[in-house]
Structure formats: structure tokens, C-alpha cells
Symmetry: D2
Subunit: 455 residues, 4 copies
């Protein structure tokens, strides 16, 4: 399993208050840096066991060359007024982090330069030459702080990405720069339709998206200097809109489960965009189930997709099966863990039944299942049935949390001829985690389960 | 709903270390009282929001007239060596509690004299006359501390209980004592069979048990002086054995749900025996699912019966239906709450389908359900499938907790002609909580649930 | 003791995101309200046991008539573009709060219209007539929601306050408005000097400030219609600058202790400005001890002034002494509690020794003291000694918390002739809490304190 | 610093309920093991970050050859009825722990055979030959489970210890046993006097005690086979009585600080007896300050001696000073940490003033101190002043906790000629932790501490 980093977006934005200026006694404008909020954020991250993937951006207003901003929270997307001052800011931030958290720790945090410069809403004019200047200057500045930092780009999204990727690598080759990794984003929907606060979308065929990822891989590998460089997908999801009701569904969970089984084929890591739903791109959300990117809705209610991640995280061991509908690994102690999913394009589908014959010692095994589907774990539907309340009462929030837990079940499985036969059933849009464990008889003196119910 | 007190059993036993003695300089034996552990216990109770039902017993070894003990933890069941010293002990305990927790608070804690004196394992020789002496002396001692204390007895179990009840009341009448309440126990099984660490039992017809409770009520009411005195069932359960696997089952939950719907007919309160499973009557249990009395297994795993209580606790409102399979109440805001159960005698049964027509305003309602049955919430079965481990690993414990949560679901219900039609399905041995809520349309601008899944 | 409310400042500001607009299909601009963040804030308040004093302001940018803002966080201080829309917003907020938290609860939260309209930085042009319009319209709008709401103004600070107060009341009389209470602010420094990120100030004579409060009281009482109306001091402190190092000192604590002993003479309540130090008026603070208003520094480090409040909160009972240096109350059980302080104008002063003869039963008493002075509880000094670090390491933060606790001590006191003589010593800038308790001898069998140390 | 293990005493006692028996269908008595409570205890230990030092004892009643017990909690101190069954029990316990917590972890837990067999109250007849049999059989049994276990004895106390030590080693040599470590206990008082619930004692000269420890070391080293074997002091304290008021005093803390500075000279580890005060050797304590062994009184109130440990734990670095009154270490970053103590024999003494000249870079340093003495951190005295209450109210408990924290202070220190001069003052019976830190000037723009107080 590649590591799953937490992308730290907006690090240099005005709300973080890092970049400040004052006029000295000679009337000269001078920079000063304020790390009060950065410390609070980073202390929280590390206290939760998270490490950041440092995205350098956007531009502090006072350091910007223009006025263009993106999002409700007004990230300035123009180049720096002065590249020297930009580099000084980047270096001050990294140096502060190293002072506070230790150099050996901080240099392990990957660095990415800017965000989606190939879109003119994220980088003024989507100006490729200007981005290359930004990259080269920033790359040099970071390496000057500590050569161990892993720095990469170009952080592009899927629009015109092949040309950008190729040009970026040619630029690096020409300039003799060797990025430590390559970064891009990955989404998979057709152009969406906006209605009121929401956008409605249709899923792309996922194979199309994989084709794009494979193309990125091939472009990188086609440069002798860069062959094999790790690629990080620093954002991915189905829809790239922060208000797509799709995100809240079981269907999304099944789609993402499939993505998780494939993205490692071309990439070193892939970061779901986003973890939580308290998020302001398109303004402050009006309801808890507003189609936000997050794995967890406001009120700490996990959405079905949360469980796709929770389940895949358990898949440590040796892969013995990977197909379009399931992954199975063998565990050190002799058992198995797997995830199955029943992806649908438009919400409709057939029940999926899978059967695995798994080599096993002993005579008995236990099959554990945790099932996330539209019947067992569907907080969105319950919220809808409750009348789509914008403000959850405490009772509603607690109820929705209860409705957001997988259904856990078990059954005894006979091991026959050294093999256990496991049947997994997944409803349409369902994701099923399963675990096959060897069972030793440990019956306590006098205990007879068959008598327990008097049957 | 009557209040559900926590019976404080073993208050005066040696493990509580309250009664101590020393020899003074004149060589005389003198009592001294140690409240160190009592304070720890009571602080914990009150910190959890619990109030005790004070059971006065058993006998501190140093104050006892004999050696007979009951249980692995050796409760001495003989009369006091000296009634004066016994009364001094009781008074010292109550006075200490009043000093520490406030007199006005402590006098609201009901008091019961001894435990099951009609069994010779709990009271030497099941000596009725001696118990009456104990009762009269203790009653007077408590009242002398504060006349507001509510004191009662005879705390008998179902063996020969009608004779005991009648004799007890005759004794009180003769002595001019007026107990503040009457107490008894209530269990409902045929004589059990012991195998190894376990006992296997068959359920009595619950109507037989209710008949006994009705008889107690009638005996009390047949005494003009005592007519209408509250009766507290200070212990009840299906099996009275601390190692009956029945206690851990869904079948038990359904049986107890029925009990909860009936016991208030004759009694002021009824206390399930017991809350937890860390309990030593028959020795320290060898496994987490050892058939203990508790609602919660060792490892904080709620058993199905826990949920019967959790569900009934929510039934506050005006009762609009009570039958052998369900109770429904109307809520102040116009909704309904109910519990349905599908009780079986021997574990086997038919699916139960209930339908309610409930008057309702508005056009739409939401039906919430939480289902506890052998498929959705059955930690015992999962533990069995796991191989009946005596020591749970942390992972097993966490898994069992997940398997011990009800399945929460919802559905929209149309309100037609001022009525909502609610269908509830309960599997054999299942207990289903349901709630019908009026729904106001609060659709956010642009939100269209029918488009969410693209269907 | 009057109640000490938490002023909720900035309720309607853009960061709360409540007021939003959209264009309907007829091309008309329409308001919509977003309560997502309001719910989060209010849930947190109530979860901590706090109730708000609702300040209605500042102006959402989209509803404003102008561009003028105040502070780093850009509160718009212009009148509404349309008073009808403003009133609709106010009513929507109150109605939402009542729906969520219960009408009976929410109507107990006092309401204040705007903040310091007599300063042109807080209200465009300090336009008195415009404020009166705002007040009258808002007052009527709130009362239309629920007549039980307690609404007041004019929320003025000490600048030209007598004229404003009088004109405000004349306006109300003329318009037939009867505010439920009067509000003002109270600070006590000479004009400050700004150096870099900080301002340095000199304390006013506190009696001057009290004179101003008395004047407010007299003006209100001079109107027959308004005589006796409660006055709330909705902000007070020594310095009104958010970057006055004075706030972090022991000197400040002693000054505030004196204020706490006097402010109740003319006012119903008085709210220290502010509770915490994560605060952005003059920009994000660069260091934890930056002279912020807060009682608690960033990192949860209580400042000395925190303890002045903690100590006064314990003074419940009957006042038996109030002087310029101490307050003492008698407690129901026969003991006493008091606070003494040793205020200095410029940091320098003499040791203060106070003696009290207090009537007492019994033979022995215990004097408990908790001392906050420059030696025992001075986190600012320790931070300075540590080199004034801008970013606290975890170890430094923990150390500063330890250095921010009062020193607790005790001594036995003989009761002689029905009186106990208590001596209290307060160092310059010190605040001392003390408690005199009656002591019953409870010596355990064999315990002899005089032998404990072998002395 | 050697590691400071937590001795797990009473592991096999009846309250742990591990050893059980039943009669099989052939009428034969058979052992069975119950690990329910062991799991609860060990889970708690490990959850707190503690590792046990496994003491094997005492004897389960059912496995014992006699009736003799020790303590209120009745530990049976007789040899096993059958050594084979004893060994089977020991092996079952270790095997269970390895199954549950991992073999690699559990084999790092040191093992000790029995407790103080050289006292006839702890081992029937103080029978040396019988102990050697127990040791040899147990040693072999443990090693048979896993040869990596570190097993030792003879766990003797200071009575007749030289003879026992020598005989034990001779026995081992003769039998060809090689214990992995040697264990003994270490106390330092004259014979105590008992009065009521308490014992009063006089301190021995600590050098006498050290002489005994040195003798143990020499005896071990005098055996060529055993030279250099680690010695663990598995119990130490001043008084060996569980009801010595001395334990609760500041005097005890200063004595123990000195012990901590010396015990490493001859021993690999040394374990203070005991951590907590909820402890039953002489019966359940009647009051929170009853002279128990614990570092922490009932109610989670740290006693002064707790801080001696907390302070020594911070002394990691290179020792630059060790004397009869202080230890100082140099820290990696260039600072220093130290502990000073002012020990008295009988409670009376002079103020101690120490001066250290410590090499230091830079121009300024900060001296931090945390002071535990009779004025600053003396919960025993406050409890006495409060009237020695047996049952603490919540308010009293909270107050005592506040009175049980060291006083933290700081001062600036000039570094002159590459040296800092540090003066430490310790009151009689005081323990002072200090830390000297290099200070970098980090003055924020405009901040001037000298102006803060206006002085």
C-alpha cells in the first residue's frame, strides 16, 4: 500500500496570516512572518497522527501581483509581485517548521508547487511560462533550505494535461532541474449541471480516467532523466464540484473502492479530496448533506465513502486476488481480508455474488463481514426521510451517526480439503469488507452453543 | 414509567470493609467504621447519575453469629451476634451517607432489609421468626436516624412466597409496624440443569409469573392497613442462575421486552438483575459470554437485552397501544414511539408483522427503526463463530461492540386522510424500536433527492 | 453577585456567513440565511455552559450601504442598505435560535443593538440620528418576534458618553420606546503610545472611571420613565487596546479585582473584554504574551487576571466587609471567604497587611489561601525569562501552565472568645483568595500529627 | 538512569482467581485456569504504558500445603501442595500472557520467584531449603516456556540477608543454575512503634543501608560464575510499614531523593514500594493521609515523594555533579538539569544554599525551578489544618490537589566569561528541581518588557 498523505491546501493564504508587512523607520516596506496560526494547525495535524503534503500556495494578497482570486474564501491566484520575496517567504515557513518539529521530520513532508496552474481560475491566465518560472524559483529556494526536501509539480488537473506534463518535463530537462516527484489530480465526471446550491453530474467511464493516468506515467517514463519518478495524485474524487450530491451516496463509495484498487498501478500515492465537509469553496454549505467532497459530514457523520477507505486500510498482506469487483489479501497468521464492491453507473444494478476458494489450514473458519450499502449504512437516505433538515438537532445527529455504521455479521465456514469456500454478496452500490479467520475450538467446560437457544 | 432503581447488594459485606473492631485499653472489644470503600463506590454511582436502592446485608463476619456463607465471595448469612451492634452499624452507615451526600438526598434512597430470607442459602435456616426480629429492629433503627427514610421488606424470592408475604404483613400488623413499601423478586424458569461451568434452563410461561405478582399485590391489598403500599421488584430476570447462556441471547431480550410491558401493572419499580457481568456469585467467569445476568458483557459489549431497556426508556408519552407484542406511545410534538418484540419459547418462531394506523397531521412522516435481532445485533453468535475465545483481543472486543449495535433504518411514510399506516416486522426473538415523526419539507434551493443517484 | 454574561460580538459579520443572496428566476435579488456556522458556535457555547449576550452587528457586506470596515477582520460599520432587509435578517436569526434551542431559553439571552456607535470607527460618521433609526427599527423587529426579549442600547464607550446617553433616552421617550436595559462600556487608561506591534499605556485613577459610571446611572434615573433600568457594562478592562502588555500582568489582576468589588454599585452586569487571546482586532498576534485582552493566553495559559475572576466567583454569601483592598463574605455553614488585592499605579508599592476579626464558633479554624502575585503566579515573567519565544514548544507551554497556578497554603487559626483573627499579606500587585473554615477534630485512632515529622 | 519497573505483587493470589479446580467425571481433581481478571489488570497496565516485573506468588489456597496467610488480604505463604501443579500454573500464566501480548514483548518482563522468603511471615518457617526447591523448580519451569525469560531471586529483605544471599548463590552454583539477576529489598528505619492504626518510626542513617547494598553486590561478585549479575531492588522505601505517617511528608521526599542519587551505584533497578495508596496490607486505610507507602494518596493527590521521582526522571544527560545534596546533568542542547534536596533526620534542619558554576555559551540563560517543600507543596499539612477529615469532600480533594503541585519559578541569569553562576536554595526537607536553559533574544517588534509594568 502506498502512503496516503493529507494534502495541506491554502498554506500561504491570507487566512493563515503568515505573510505580513510593515514600514520601517526609513519608510521602507519590510516583510515579517506570523506563525501563530500555522503552529495551531500543525500541532493539531501531528497530534492526530497526520503528516502534511505541503502545497505551496496561494499568494498572500500583500505579495501578489494582481487581484484575481478563486473561491468564496478568496485565494489570490496571481504570480508574486517579487520572486525574491516569495522565495524568502517559502524559506521562512520551512525553516520555522524545522525549528519547531525537527529537521529530520519536516524534510519527509513532500512539497508541491502551486495547485492546478493549467486552469485560469487557479493561475492567472493559466500561464505556463510563468508557472515554470514559479516552479524553478521555488524549487531552488526549497532545496537551498535543505536538499533532502522532496519537491515536485506541476499539480495539474485533467484539462489539457498531456501537453502540460510534456512541456513541464521538457522545461525541467532544459533547465537541468530534477523534480523529486510528479503531481497531478484525477476526477471522473462529465460536465456538471448547476441548479441552485447544487451541481448534478454523470460519471465518466472509469477506464477513461485510468487511461489518462497511464498516459501521465508514460510521458514521465519517456524522458530518460525522469523515468520511474514517483507520481502523486494529490487530489482525486468522482466529481470535482464541492456541491455534488453524488459525494454523499453509497454509489460514490463503490466507485471509489474500485479507484482504490487501481490507482496504485501508476501512482505512488493518491489523496482523496477531501477529508471533511466544513469547507468553503462555493460558500458555506447550507446543509450537512450538501454534496461536499468530505468523507465525513458536518456533525462527524461518516459517509459511505469513508468506509471504503477504512476497509482498504485493513488490506495489509499479500494480494491473492484483484479483480474489477474485489481485492483479497492473505494475512501473516493464515487468514484473509478482502473488499468487494458493486459499482453502478447510474445507481441501478444487479446483486453481485462472488465466490472465493481460499487455501486454509484447520477444520473451521469464521467469515466476518461489514456491509455498507443502501439498506445497512446510508445516512443520506435517512436525512432525506427526516425531511432534509438544514440544522441537525443533537438527536438527529446521533441517529445519523448510528445509521452511518456498517452492519457487522459473521458465519461459520467449514474448511474442506484444505480450502474454505467463501461467498460474498454485495447489493448494488454496496461495499463489503470481509475477513476469513482460522478458528480454534476453545469451548469452555460445559458450554454448548447448540443448547443456548434451547433449539 | 416507574423509576428503575439500582439495587446496591452486598453493602455491608466484608469486601466493603465497613465494620471493624479493635480492643481498647481496657481490653474491651469496640466497633469502628471504615467508609473508605463506601465513599469510592458511592462517588462512582452518583458520578454516573445513579441512585442506589440500599439493601442492608449481608452480615460482616466479625458481627455474625455463625459461619454460613453464600457464594464464591462468601457473604455471611447468619443473624447478628448482637442486634444492638447491628443497629449501630446500620445507623453509622446512614449517618455517614447523609453527612457526605446531604440528608435531603440520602433519605430518598429506598431501603430494603436483607435479601431472600425465605431461602436457607441466604438466611440461616430460612428462619422466619428471626427475620421478623431483624426487620423490626432494623426498621426502628433506620427510622430513628431520619423518619423520612422509606424502609421495606421482606425481599423474598418466589419460593413459598405467598405464605411469607402473608406472615410478614401479619407480623407487621401485630407489631404496629408500617413498612413504606413491600419488596420481592421475580424470575421465570423451570429448574435448571448444571453442566460444567454452565446451567441450561427452560422458560416458564410468563403468565404464571405474572399470576404470582398479582397474588402478591392482592395479599398486600387484603390488609386494610397496607392496601396500596408500593411493591418494588428488587430483582427480576428470566433465569436466576449467574451462568445461564440464555441471558446472552436475543431470545432473552424479547422475553424481557414483554416483561417490561407488564411489570408496571402490579409494581412500583422492577430492577433487572444485573447491570454488568463482572460478577462473582459462582466464581469468576471464564469467558465474556458465560451466561451472566448482566446487560453488558465484560469488555463493555452490550447484550441484546440492554437494548430492550434502552428502547423502553424512550417510551415517554401517552400510551395509545399495549398488546402482547408491542407498546406505542404518542409524543407531545405529534409523533409516536413504540417497541415491538417477537418472543419465542424455545428460540423458534414465525416472523411477526404488525400494522398500526396512527392519527397524524401533515402530509408526510418518517418511520425510523432500530432493529435488534439474530441477524442485526447478535454478539453472542459472532463470539461463537470466532471460536468462543475466553480472552478477547482488543480487535475482537471492538468487533463485538460493532456487532452489538442495532441496525438503524428509515423510510418515508405517506399520511393519508389524517392517518399514517405503519408496518413493523420483527424476526423471531427480535426487538424493534420505532419512531414515527411528522416531516416538514425543508428542501434547500436546488436540492433534488431524486436526482442524487441519477436514477 | 450580578451574572457575568459572555458578549457575543460579530454575530452578523461576514465570517459567520449568515446573510447570503441569490438571484431568482425573475432576476430579482433575494436573501437567504445560512446557519451552519451559527449552529457550530452556539452548540459550543451551550456545551460549555455559557449563555450569550447577543450583540446585533456588524453589517454583512452584501447588506451594507457603504464600504467602511473596522479591524483586521473587516467588520463593516455602515448602516444597512435597506432597514427592512436588516430587520428580516435579525428576525430570521432569532427565530432560528428559538427553533433550535427553545423559545423559553433564547428569550432569556439579552440583546444589544450595535457596538460603540459613538465612535466613527465603529459606526460611519458616529451618526447619532442614524443609530437611533437603527435602534428603533431593530427594537421593534426583535419585539415582534417575541415580546419577552430584553433589548437595549446604546452600547456606547466612554467618549462623549453623557451627551449620547441623554440624547438616546430622550429619543426613546419621544418615540415611546422603552428599552429593557441600558448598555455601555468602561475602560480606564490614558491615551496610549504605539510602538511596533504594541501599545503602552498609563492607568487612569479608577475613581474617575467610577464617576463616569455613576453619571450614567444618574442620567438614566433622571428620566422618570427609565428610572432604575438595569445598566449592563457589556465591555470593560483597563486598556482598550488589543496589544497592551499591561493585560498580561499581575498589576492588571489587582486593578481588576478592585473593579470587580465596585462595578456592581451602578450596574447589573459587567463583562470583561475578552475571555481568550485568539483574537484578530489588530491582526493575528505574533506571540502568546502579546498584551491581548484575554483572561487566557493562546496555549490555554491563564493570566493573573483570570484568577481575580475565579476568586470573586467563590464569594457567595453575606458581605461582611468591603473596602478598597478586600471583600469578605460570611458563608452559610459559618465560615468566611474573601479576596484581598494590593493595587499599584505603576507597578511599585508596599506590602499590604490586613487583619480581620471574624466571629466564629468552636475552638479551631483553618485559614486557606491561594496567592497570585509576581512571585507565585506570573507566567509573563517566566515567558520573558525564557527569552520571549513567539512559538511555544509543548514543554514551554506545559511549564507556563504550571507557573500560572496560584500557590495554595493553609494554617491553623485559634478561635478565641468567639473570634478568629485572620492576617492576610498581599505583595504589591498581588491578589489573595482566602477562606476561613471551622474545624472539627476528627483525629483517627492513633494518629498524632505532632509525631509525624519526629519533631 | 536504570529503568524503574512496576513490581506486580500478588499475581497468583486468590483475588486474581487464576487457579481453579474441578472434579472430572472420573472423580479426579483437575486444575483449570481463569485469566479473566489477569487480562483486566494487564490491559490496564499496558494501556498506561507500564510494564510489570512479575513476582511469582503467593500460593493459591487450593494449591497450598498449609493454612498460614499474611496480611488483611490473606496471601497464603506456604509451599505448594505439589510442585508439579505449581509449575503447571506458572507455565500456564506465562503462556497465556505470551498468547495475548506477544512472546517478544512478554519475555522482556523480568521474573522474580516469591517475596521475602527470609521472613517467616512471608514464607512458612522462613525455610531456606524449601525456598531453594521452589526457586529451582520455578526457574526450570519458566525457562522451559521460553529461555529468553530473565528469572531471578531470592527476593529477600534486609533481615539476615547476607547469609541468605550467600547460601542462595551457593545453592545455585551447586545446582548449576544461573539466575539472570539477583533481587532484594531495601528499607531504612529503626524498629517502629505501633499506636492505634499507625506506626511511628525513626530513620536509620542511610549510609548503613547503602553498606548493606554494597555487601550484596560484593557477595554476588565474589562468586566467579555470578560476577556482575544485575541486582534489582524490587522494593525500597524509608519505612516498611503500610501505616507510617512519615511516608506522607516532605521529609520522606528529601530522603528518597538522596536514595535515588545513590541506589544506581550497586543496582540495576530499584522499585519504590508502592505507587498508590489504595492498599490493604494492614486493612483498608481509614483516611487519605494514613501513612501509606504510595506516591499518590487516595483521591489522586500526589505526595511530596511523587515529585522526587518526577524530577529525577527528567535528569537525562551527562552527569556533571553528584554530591550528597544534589545531582546535575548536562543536556544535549547545552543546558543543565538538576535536583537538590535538603534531607533532615528528624524534621529539623538549616536552609541549604548551593552554588554551581556551569559552562555555558551565549550571553543569557534562564533558571527554572520547581520547589517542593513544607511551604510550597505540602498536602499533608493542609489536610491536618483542615481537621484531618477521613472522607474528603470533592472540594477538599480538589484543594489538596492544588496544594500538591510544586511552585514553579524562573529568573534570568547572566552568562559571564563562558560560565553561569546558579544559586539554589532548599528549605529543610525540601526538594528543588532546576533547569538552566540558554536563552536567545527573540524580542518581537516593539516589545519592551521593561515598560510592561510601567516601572
Amino acid at each position: 500500500m502506498p502512503f496516503l498523505p493529507l494534502k495541506m491546501h491554502g498554506l500561504l493564504c491570507d487566512d493563515m496570516a503568515i505573510y505580513q508587512e510593515y514600514t520601517d523607520k526609513n519608510g521602507r516596506r519590510r516583510a515579517e512572518y506570523n506563525f501563530t496560526y500555522l503552529d495551531r494547525v500543525m500541532d493539531s495535524y501531528l497530534g492526530l497522527g497526520l503528516r502534511p503534503f505541503l502545497e505551496l500556495g496561494f499568494m498572500p494578497k500583500k505579495l501578489a501581483s494582481g487581484e484575481q482570486t478563486v473561491f468564496y474564501w478568496k485565494g489570490n491566484v496571481t504570480p508574486p509581485r517579487d520572486y525574491g520575496e516569495w522565495c524568502a517567504l517559502v524559506q521562512a515557513v520551512l525553516t520555522h517548521l524545522m525549528d519547531r518539529y525537527g529537521a529530520d521530520e519536516v524534510v519527509t513532508w513532500p512539497v508541491e508547487v502551486w495547485n492546478e496552474p493549467n486552469l485560469d481560475s487557479f493561475w492567472e491566465g493559466a500561464d505556463m511560462e510563468e508557472y515554470f518560472t514559479l516552479f524553478a524559483r521555488t524549487f531552488a529556494a526549497v532545496k537551498a533550505v535543505d536538499g533532502r526536501f522532496q519537491v515536485g509539480g506541476p499539480a495539474i488537473c485533467g484539462v489539457d494535461d498531456r501537453r502540460w506534463m510534456r512541456c513541464f518535463l521538457e522545461f525541467c530537462r532544459k533547465e537541468g532541474l530534477r523534480p523529486d516527484h510528479i503531481t497531478r489530480h484525477h476526477y471522473g465526471i462529465e460536465p456538471p449541471q448547476e441548479v441552485g446550491h447544487y451541481t448534478y453530474t454523470t460519471l465518466q467511464d472509469p477506464e477513461e480516467g485510468f487511461e489518462g493516468l497511464r498516459a501521465s506515467r508514460e510521458i514521465v517514463d519517456s524522458f530518460a532523466e525522469f523515468r520511474g519518478l514517483p507520481i502523486h495524485v494529490t487530489e482525486f474524487n468522482t466529481s470535482y464540484c464541492p456541491n455534488s450530491p453524488l459525494h454523499d451516496t453509497n454509489r460514490n463509495a463503490a466507485c471509489i473502492a474500485y479507484q482504490l484498487s487501481r490507482l496504485g498501478d501508476w501512482n505512488e500515492s493518491y489523496s482523496y479530496w477531501t477529508f471533511g465537509d466544513v469547507f468553503e469553496e462555493a460558500g458555506v454549505p447550507f446543509t450537512p448533506f450538501h454534496g461536499g467532497f468530505g468523507l465525513v459530514a458536518n456533525g462527524c457523520i461518516p459517509k459511505p465513502t469513508f468506509w471504503a477507505f477504512a476497509f482498504f486500510k485493513r488490506l495489509q498482506g499479500q494480494c491473492v486476488h484483484r479483480g474489477p469487483e474485489a481485492v483479497v489479501v492473505r494475512r501473516p497468521g493464515g487468514g484473509y481480508r478482502g473488499v468487494a464492491w458493486n459499482r453502478t453507473h447510474d445507481g441501478n444494478g444487479q446483486v453481485l455474488e462472488l465466490e472465493f476458494l481460499l487455501p486454509m489450514e484447520g477444520a473451521r473458519a469464521c467469515l466476518l463481514t461489514e456491509t455498507v450499502d443502501e439498506t445497512t449504512c446510508n445516512p443520506l437516505k435517512m436525512w432525506h426521510d427526516l425531511g432534509e433538515p438544514a440544522s441537525l438537532s443533537r438527536a438527529q445527529r446521533d441517529l445519523l451517526r448510528r445509521a452511518a455504521a456498517p452492519l457487522a455479521g459473521s458465519q461459520g465456514v467449514a474448511v474442506d480439503g484444505g480450502e474454505a469456500k467463501v461467498s460474498i454478496v454485495a447489493q448494488p452500490n454496496g461495499v463489503v469488507y470481509f475477513e476469513l479467520l482460522p478458528v480454534k475450538g476453545q469451548c469452555d467446560r460445559g458450554y454448548d452453543y447448540s443448547r443456548v437457544n434451547g433449539r
